[in-house]
Amino acid sequence: MDLELSDDQFDLRDNIRSVLEGACQPALVRSIYDGGGSADALWTQMVELYWPALGVAEDAGGLGLGFVELGLLAEELGRVAAPGPLLAVVSQFIPVLTEAGAEDELAAAAAGESVGALALAENGRWDLDAVDATATEANGGWRVSGTKAAVLAGAHADRFAVVARTDSGIGAWLVDAANSAVTITDVIDPGLGLADVAFEDAPATLLLAPGPATTEALTRVIEQATVAMALHTVGACRRIFEVTLEYAKVREQYDKVIGSFQALKHRFADMFLAVERANAVGYYAALAIAEDDEARAEAVNVAKAAAGDCQKLVAEDGLQLHGGIGFTWENDLHFLLKRAKAGEVLCGGRTHHRAQLAGRLGLLGASA
């Protein structure tokens, strides 16, 4: 058992971090918050670096790295509150295409020629039981109807992988964005491009046919999306922690830097623990997915619950310890606060994942 990143993984992380520190500076994020800014150049650069292809198998045109490496990417994107579709593409859309073995689509997504999003959530939930959207077969083709909420990068996508229901179970279909009504939702973090997407008899191509194997495949997709979102949240939280710590080392009150006060020191120690804790279980879950371990489902719940715990403590303390300055639009802190909060909500919050865990541990009658 070795829960430490390898040297190669550390190198990859440092590489991603240094690129993002140059290409995704707060000024870019701010321009999108203020309206008028665009993440297009950032996306182009990411494509040139083959980031969308990171987790795609080599024979499908990708770099063939594992899920832990995708976790590193997700965390670093969170650390800079990156705008644009990459997180959705690598952790939601490509996993569906991979499960479906959709070679052409996968190659296009890996090459950045297409931008896809996973249309899953309904009724505020990211699990298969909550799916009401329907797919029907007619004249040798498929049609999908239903409304999906909070589709990550829905505003950026040119195609959707839509999870829908038929009489014989849950499946997944590919729908062109041109054939679906997209309402870009005004949310606290405009970089996420969250959108409600309404499908009304939209022409669709079958990706995963309904049946038990597809239910398992989509469960794996949701697990990947959830762990990536957990690590994304941890990345935003770690940065909140870092900037708050930097601030406490220079901000003076009563002729002392505020970081010398024991009451604050103890809060910093607790924040540090919350970040390390969520980070450690996040990569444990990523590893469980990468190795297809029997503990993977449980590890996913643990990771997302811990990310939620981390977000609650670090975002609250980070804002509080900044004092009034952290409450202003001019300070960059709020990009991270909003990204962390969104990350807690998306793919199910801590309460949801703790309830699921309680079910798995035999503490509640059925898995929630």
Partner: protein
């Protein structure tokens, strides 16, 4: 990163399990004569320690002449895992085996090693650690017990407190001030003190649970005369040696905290479903959420502990050390409290009528020993903030 240990490590585990199968003390033996104080060595523990020493399983990472087999740290880790799973105390004198014997091996004279360290390792004697004083608990460098050189002897006067196991120990690893004029950290020495030396008075302190089995003691030292040959290492160098010796077991201590937490969680999960079933649904959901939260903590503590251990093996240091002290002790406290809440009125039963610790308020109270001793949670948070995060001292 990988979730499983390598085959060689698993082979080592299997070898130890096979040995343990033949040599382990039975649960009945342990229950009949439990380790009631941290320097009380029951007969079964004496012979078990001797067998571990002889067969190289006492401290696997050490050379054979010192009770080991030159095993690597990962092997030592799985060895501890198996002892924990089997619910067998590795030693009933943790300070003796974990801190005092290794310090003597590092800093003691050949005579001190022969006379004091080796009998400890063979389970023939036990020892206590004389550090804390009334004015020197967390502020350890403030200790006042004086040792004055008088010809070939030291004359010692002062008082120790919170001395675990002093009531059963054969000797004490005593921290004294030998230079009152030096800066606080600079004038401290370590002297070996047989507990039957004239002038040594031990007064056990009853604790809030199990008052019939005191572990903590006050130790009064009135004109205690010890030969200068009992000085460990160089005079006035006690602080540096203490830091070195505490580091000996620190990495393993956090892992044992993790393993202890996993045992407590297993016990809780064994008993919880039946208890929950008797509760109304709304209460079930609340208690289940509490336990699920603690389960997240248990998994996280394993991940942090094992990751920190990997870092420690690789680099010789890991910020997880102080983190894990706070985290593992506080979570065990939470676990014990939730288990007791779940047990309801049964939690009020004392250990004289109930056996085992699941759901007992006595077990909960006991956990405060760990959040207070060996550097309280508050001290640990200061250490994290100052040494790991670089915040200035107040």
């Amino acid at each position: 990163m990988k979730l499983r240990f390598d085959d060689e490590v698993e082979a080592f585990r299997a070898e130890f399990l096979a040995w343990l199968d033949v040599n382990r003390p039975t649960p009945e033996e342990i229950a009949a004569d439990p380790p009631i104080s941290s320097a009380y060595v029951p007969e079964w523990s004496r012979s078990f320690t001797k067998r571990m020493f002889d067969d190289g399983w006492l401290v696997p990472g050490w050379p054979p002449e010192r009770g080991g087999r030159n095993a690597g740290p990962i092997e030592t880790l799985v060895y501890l895992e198996e002892l924990n799973k089997a619910d067998i105390p590795r030693t009933t004198n943790p300070q003796g085996l974990g801190i005092i014997a290794p310090s003597l091996l590092d800093f003691g004279t050949p005579e001190q090693i022969e006379q004091y360290a080796m009998p400890l390792l063979r389970g023939e004697t036990s020892a206590c650690l004389g550090m804390s004083e009334p004015d020197a608990g967390s502020d350890l460098a403030n200790l006042k017990t004086r040792a004055v050189r008088d010809g070939d002897n030291y004359v010692i006067n002062g008082q120790k407190v919170w001395t675990s196991g002093a009531n059963f120990a054969d000797f004490c690893f005593l921290f004294c001030r030998t230079d009152p004029d030096a800066p606080k950290h600079k004038g401290i020495s370590i002297i070996l003190m047989p507990m039957d030396t004239p002038g040594v008075t031990v007064r056990p302190l009853k604790e809030i649970v199990s008052p019939e089995h005191p572990d903590l003691n006050e130790v009064f030292l009135d004109d205690v005369i010890l030969p200068a040959s009992n000085l460990v290492g160089d005079e006035n160098n006690g602080w540096a040696m203490a830091n070195g010796s505490l580091a000996h077991e620190r990495s393993m201590v956090w892992l044992m905290g993790v393993m202890g937490m996993e045992s407590s969680m297993r016990e809780l999960l064994d008993t919880a479903p039946a208890r929950l079933e008797a509760l109304p649904e709304a209460e079930q959901a609340i208690v289940a959420d509490d336990i699920a939260g603690l389960y997240v903590d248990t998994v996280a503590s394993r991940c942090l502990g094992y990751r920190g251990f990997a870092r420690y093996v690789k680099t010789g240091s890991a910020p997880e050390q102080a983190l894990m002290k706070v985290y593992s002790t506080e979570i065990r406290q939470d676990l014990a409290r939730v288990a007791a809440e779940l047990a309801g009125p049964d939690s009020l039963l004392t250990s004289t009528v109930r056996h085992g610790s699941v759901g007992s308020l006595e077990a909960y109270f006991t956990t405060f020993g760990s959040t207070i001793s060996a550097g309280s949670s508050e001290i640990q948070r200061n250490i994290i903030a100052e040494r790991v995060l670089g915040l200035p001292r107040s």
